[in-house]
């Protein structure tokens, strides 16, 4: 057995002192610590389901050894928000119909967060670029792109008007508004 190494990781604001094998992979360490929102879709860096923020940067946690993250600050999707207090991005994904099976969602939200942190008003091409490492087999990506745009808009409102006004708006979005790609439409048969 290789020697256990002692490291510390700060995960969603809580610091853990851990003894880990040198070949332990961060994805598995996080999941073993209960971060089951970090998904395992391939383990070879091809799907983005395991994405987390490591010192603010998005990485695929299946491609990082746990010991390499010693001392790092890690944020997973569940660290951004909860059912009671969802993050603006998480709420936008829900409102935009961007979630089908939801297995890609945590990674998508992380990539979105990383994008909007450095580019609060991205173009569609920039959004596509930022999400290019995240596979989704369900949605065809259109409603996900719409969710990123909606996130950006709501975050900008937030920075202009402050959190409380956003909350109000968010609520209204819950039941009626939805974001579609331009051109999508519903047509009901003629005169009824």
């Amino acid at each position: 057995m290789p020697k256990v190494m002692n490291i510390t990781l700060t995960i969603n604001g809580r610091t853990h002192a851990l003894g880990v094998q040198p070949n332990a992979v961060l994805l598995h360490t996080l999941r073993d610590l209960g971060c089951t929102d970090v998904k395992n879709g391939c383990e070879i860096g091809e799907c983005g389901a395991c994405a987390v923020l490591l010192n603010g940067k998005p990485i695929n946690s299946c491609m990082v050894l746990t010991v390499q993250a010693d001392g790092a600050d890690i944020v997973t999707n569940a660290g951004l928000g909860t059912m009671d207090k969802p993050h603006v991005i998480q709420e936008a994904f829900a409102d935009a119909g961007a979630i089908q099976c939801g297995f890609c969602t945590p990674g998508m939200v992380i990539s979105t967060k990383a994008l909007l942190d450095r580019n609060p008003d991205p173009t569609e091409a920039e959004i596509r670029e930022a999400l290019s490492g995240n596979l989704c087999r369900c949605t065809g990506y259109g409603q996900i792109i719409a969710a990123v745009r909606l996130s950006a808009e709501r975050l900008q409102n937030l920075s202009v008007y402050g959190a409380s006004s956003l909350r109000e708006e968010g609520r209204e979005h819950d039941s009626s508004n939805r974001v579609l790609e331009s051109g999508d439409q519903t047509e009901v048969g003629g005169a009824s």
Partner: protein, 777 residues
């Protein structure tokens, strides 16, 4: 393709509704958004073991010796099981689900192979250990000696005399024929006969969540299996394999991270059941991505030949279709997939003189089974490419040729089944084509092409399966509603749609409806989340249940408010007098009133689909499905004649969904289904070479990323004529079907020649270009 202007839609009469038809936030969305949803691989239990499966490295061999003693002796290994330990148990792979019909002989696969192996990845032994690392180590200690047997890797070869046989007496897994009208007479009326052959590859579902689950034996001795599955009714097959009573297996389904048909078959649950029983401890088994690729089903490769007689005006006078499908090593759902393809072989066209002959044969390759569309997409690649070839031969516009032949309500399908609901082929096709707008201009090295496809696809299961769904609906004393319904949610919004229907009927807001789903022991069995059937079947079941409760609420409220029942309206958690909003009773008061008087406000309902008894075996004539969804897709592509690369420029899909219960979810189904179909046409190919998988992971098997294609624009039409709740038709599978043939036709339009084999890789495009140059020099 010519420009078109769609005609206005025919008249419909859709009732105005409060919650159905609104793009409400799905009930499952927020939990998934914040990462609170617990998927199958996320569960753990105290004292839990970790399992691995030892699989065949070769496609065709006799097992000479299997020695697991070293693995058993490894510290931390708790259990190793071989075919001997499972007593040669077989899995009945046929007719999954709740149907009471007889199963087909010979369709069983051994749970663990013990004498021969027939494909790479076939399970041979199971290991359960204290840690995953030990289980992995134990796999390496298993010694397998085998003797290679000759294999067969092509279904046409497999049917030749002298081919290695997978199962006696021959490799034929299923065969069908359709005989309608007089083929020769029809051909004699034709001005031209057009003949073409089209080929399609194996395709991987590539759901993002690898198969997984946890099982344990509870204090009643019931084996509980928590698993991501489309079919909780598999508890019956598992009970049979374990030789225990059916009430001793409980499947607790989880939210499924994508299935697309692959999780319709039994995957990890059978291994978990054996290991949990054997060890008496909780056991977890999660496939790696490579395992999920190798050990689960694929879409069937097909070779389809169309010989069509047509008059100069485009009218089809006769059609002869032959189909060969690859079943892989075990039958699984092949007989039914082939039946679907056969019955849809001629497309949504009125063809009076038709022969279809189809056959599926076994090969030593990954087995094939259900995949979104279930043979329908392959059939469509045949008939829709052929329609364009007919148009080209006659010098007519592709849409015009279709318009001459489109079936209408009252016409019959290939099997003679009458289409009873709206057949909006014209309506969907013209809208999809018109939405493409202006066509880009070609340059000498960048050829622009356009293509379209009109397709139809059944929803609901084959009617001789005698399909049923049950749902329980109840009101709580605070006026909220509860649903218990065994529907597995595979991501398409199955449970949300059901909640939205109940919210509408009982007049409560969506967020005051709670659903308990997908548990074979405590939720009434609702049948499989397959065959685009849940909205139709369970949607109707919850409608029945909630309408019963609604009637009781209205009856009691009418007395209370001193009016007739039909003078009341139910919405916003209250019952009020129509036209006089000041007279009302709130749900919470009404429910308490009913409770105090012993008026029951819960109801278990069962919806039965129409039952039939099968097709005439000689003619293939008869009714198969409850109904059909009609739709179309149009795309524009640019083909780089130097690199062979194809760029998808525009894609528009239009479907008549009858009634969109949740339009946001319907848009998502269409856009997502389209994307899978686009991948099918342009990139996806699960390659095997002599039975060895050449695309074992996401590094080799490429599915569309966000950079590959523009988003498909979606147009939803609502004829209101479907047999689902509120006139809904199904859309899950139909969404995929037209995408690939539309691309095929666009590529052929751009190049001027057709590539007869999917996917259209740069290599194939360049080969086609070379062929053109060769022909012209």
């Amino acid at each position: 393709m010519n420009r078109v202007t769609p005609k206005p839609l025919p008249e419909t009469n859709l009732p105005r509704l409060n919650q159905v038809g609104k793009p409400l936030r799905r009930i499952d969305a927020l939990g998934k958004a914040v990462g609170a949803t617990v998927y199958a691989a996320d569960y753990s239990m105290p004292n839990m073991l970790h399992a691995k499966v030892f699989r065949s490295p070769v496609p065709s061999a006799r097992i000479v010796k299997l020695d697991v003693s070293k693995a058993r002796a490894l510290p931390g290994v708790v259990c190793v099981m071989t075919g001997e330990d499972t007593h040669g148990a077989k899995l009945n792979t046929d007719l999954p689900g709740q149907t009471g019909r007889e199963t087909r002989a010979g369709s069983d696969a051994p749970v663990l192979a013990s004498d021969v192996v027939r494909y790479v990845g076939e399970p041979i032994a199971l290991v359960a250990a204290e840690t995953l690392a030990i289980a992995e180590q134990a796999l390496k200690q298993i010694e397998l000696e085998f003797e290679d047997l000759p294999g067969v890797y092509d279904p046409i070869e497999a049917m030749k005399p002298g081919a290695p046989i997978l199962f006696a007496p021959d490799n034929v897994v299923a065969r069908y024929k359709i005989r309608k009208g007089d083929l020769e007479a029809g051909m004699a009326q034709a001005d031209v006969i057009v003949e073409n052959t089209f080929k399609m590859p194996f395709v991987e579902h590539a759901y993002l969540e690898p198969d997984g689950g946890v099982a344990w034996v509870d204090e009643q001795g019931v084996i509980n299996i928590r698993v991501c599955t489309q079919v909780i009714e598999h508890f019956r097959s598992i009970a049979r394999a374990l030789n225990v009573p059916q009430n001793r297996i409980r499947i607790r389904g989880t939210m499924v991270g994508g299935g697309f048909g692959s999780k319709e078959d039994i995957t990890v649950e059978i291994f978990l059941a054996f290991l949990a029983r054997e060890t008496g401890r909780p056991v977890k088994l999660v496939y790696t991505r490579e395992e999920a690729f190798a050990a689960t089903s694929k879409r069937h490769p097909f070779t389809i030949t169309h010989r069509t007689g047509v008059r100069k005006d485009g009218r089809i006078t006769a059609s002869q279709v032959s189909m060969v499908a690859d079943s892989g090593a075990y039958p699984y759902l092949t007989p039914y997939v082939l039946l679907y393809a056969t019955a849809m072989a001629a497309g949504p066209y009125k063809i009076d003189n038709l022969h279809v002959d189809s056959v599926a044969a076994a090969t030593n390759q990954t087995f094939t089974s259900a995949f979104r569309g279930f043979g329908g997409p392959q059939a469509a690649l045949g008939y829709e490419q052929q329609m364009d070839e007919i148009a080209k031969t006659l010098g007519l516009d592709p849409l015009a040729v279709r318009q001459v032949n489109y079936m209408k309500t009252g016409d019959t399908t290939a099997t003679g089944q009458e289409v009873k609901t709206a057949a909006w082929l014209e309506e969907t096709a013209t809208r999809a084509v018109a939405a493409l707008g202006e066509q880009a201009a070609s340059t000498p090295t960048r050829k622009i092409g356009r293509g379209m496809a009109s397709t139809f696809q059944s929803y609901g299961r084959i009617m001789w399966f005698h399909d049923t769904s049950q749902a329980w609906v109840g009101m709580e004393q605070d006026g909220t509603a509860v649903i218990r319904c065994g529907v597995p949610d595979i991501g398409a919004g199955q449970s949300n749609s059901i909640c939205q229907i109940v919210a509408e009927i009982l007049g409560v807001p969506l967020d005051q409806v709670t659903i308990y789903a997908t548990d074979s022991a405590v939720t009434p069995l609702a049948g499989t989340s397959t065959a685009t059937r849940q909205l139709y079947m369970s949607g109707n079941a919850v409608s029945l249940a909630s309408n019963t409760i609604r009637a009781r609420l209205l009856t009691r409220a009418a007395v209370k408010l001193g009016v007739r029942g039909d003078e009341l309206e139910i919405a916003n958690s209250r019952v009020s007098v129509l036209g006089d909003e000041s007279r009302y009773i709130e749900h919470k008061d009404l429910v308490r009133l009913c409770a105090s008087e012993g008026i029951g406000l819960s109801h278990l309902a069962q919806f039965n689909a129409p039952f039939t008894e099968g097709l005439d075996p000689e003619t293939g004539q008869g009714d198969i499905w409850p109904d059909f969804t009609f739709g179309a897709q149009a795309v524009e592509v640019a083909v780089d004649t130097e690199t062979g690369e194809i760029e998808l420029l525009k894609s528009v899909a239009c479907h008549d969904v009858g009634r969109a219960i949740n339009p946001a979810a319907v848009h998502g189904q269409i856009a997502g289904g389209s994307h899978q179909g686009l991948g099918y046409a342009l990139m996806e190919d699960f390659e095997l070479q002599n039975g060895i998988i050449k695309t074992p992971s996401f590094a080799e098997y490429l599915i569309p990323t966000v950079l590959d294609f523009p988003t498909t624009q979606t147009i939803i039409l609502e004829s209101g004529t479907g047999v689902g709740p509120f006139g809904a038709k199904g859309i899950g599978e139909p969404a995929l079907t037209p995408a690939a043939p539309a691309v095929a036709n666009a590529v052929a339009d751009a190049l001027g020649v057709r590539i007869h084999q999917l996917p259209f890789t740069p290599k194939r495009v360049l080969a086609a270009m070379d062929a053109i140059r060769g022909a012209t020099t």
